[in-house]
Symmetry: C2
DNA sequence: CGATGGTTTGAGATATATCAAACCTCGTGG
DNA sequence: CCACGAGGTTTGATATATCTCAAACCATCG
């Protein structure tokens, strides 16, 4: 079993599992929590290039170095494998590779959709798109009863700065868009990290 | 052999092979030429989300619809497979899936690097990064003699508008950056589509 | 309560977009 | 051979969204 070569590990919020540029020595599966994948320029600008949730795969199997760091946004539990062990195991288990391929293809699709946002959308469209996506991806996988309904209300696993780093904006611009969307009655902000979507249709329209 | 289910096809420059949003009925391998992958918003803004070269894979195997269109930039030759046939074939040939997985992982890495450019880089940095990347990827795969040296001089497979659509800029901004880089002696522009890199070091420095 | 870190708000600067015109390049047909 | 036209490109002037810098604000925790 794959479990025999894996090792569970808990990460505190803010703790990194993999650093940008280091050679890929481990891969992992997310059990619980939310993690970010991020790169940056030499002069300190940062861009979050992906966000992973429970059941998602982390790391770069089959050679090469990791082009982005992986850091926990919330407390997180992961199942870690040495890359060498994992590679060997995967090669002998086509079903695993098939599943990994499917996930990777899906992730590539999602990433490409995000490029449209980064390249062509306005700040208002970006923030609205972001909130819609969050409401869809933060659904608890645990209880199968709630059948993938997007959430009306949720807690962001991001600080404002991190939202800015996802969207390629500054923290001030993000903040202003949040308050604008609130003042226009599309959302409510009960606290810093909580969001309630009041008018989903309207928000989708704003998302462009 | 895979060839028995594939069919060769030639595309004229500008011709599309797959349209955004249609369900994925075919996949293909690029034999020759350069193709773009692109998405757009309803109101006509476009973003090129990927560029593929000979030996690259096109399309979305294993279900789902295609999130982006695929269009030839130059005259192109591809080897097309019906997705159903390909899926079935792939499932029975783990080596093929393994190779496809490797390519997909590589493509995901590249795409994420591009997100940093779209989210955080200035116009000058974007254009410089673009020229460096082009000089590296346009190396002819044919002759193994020229061992992956980046090109000093090459012909862009893009119009200025398409460069803008890759970089998330307007055509005017792209044009101004080209002329600036030329006037600063980093590049030369012998003709509309041709670029010569005069000062590669300097250009890399500009790329951020 | 006062410090601390994150967030919001404000005023102003600036990079890039927008709108518009001039400019090439190249193929066509007189 | 030259005039013409059409597409793409460059250049110019101006507008504007977003960034930058700075201050006020607010929760949280000792």
């Amino acid at each position: 079993m794959l479990n025999t070569i894996g090792r569970r590990r808990t990460l505190a919020a803010g703790e990194s599992l993999i650093w940008e540029g280091e050679d890929s020595v481990l891969v992992a599966n997310v059990i619980d929590g939310v993690l970010k994948l991020s790169t940056g320029t030499e002069d300190g600008r940062e861009q979050i290039v992906g966000v992973v949730y429970p059941s998602d795969f982390i790391g770069r199997p089959f050679g090469s170095t990791s082009g982005h760091g992986v850091t926990a946004l919330t407390e997180a539990k992961v199942c870690v494998f040495s890359r060498r062990d994992f590679d060997a195991f995967a090669r002998e288990h086509p079903a695993l590779e098939h599943k990994l391929l499917q996930r990777t293809l899906g992730e590539l699709d999602r990433t490409r959709r995000w490029m449209l946002l980064l390249g062509r959308k306005s700040a208002g469209e970006r923030v609205s798109s972001f909130l819609i996506e969050m409401s869809e991806r933060l659904v608890e996988q645990g209880c199968e009863g709630s059948h993938d309904q997007p959430l009306k209300r949720f807690t962001l696993p991001f600080s404002r700065q991190q939202v800015a780093d996802v969207l390629g904006l500054t923290i001030e611009t993000v903040s202003r868009q949040f308050t604008r969307l609130k003042s226009e009655g599309l959302i409510d902000l009960p606290s810093r990290r909580e969001v309630e979507i009041i008018d989903r249709e309207g928000l989708i329209a704003e998302a462009g």
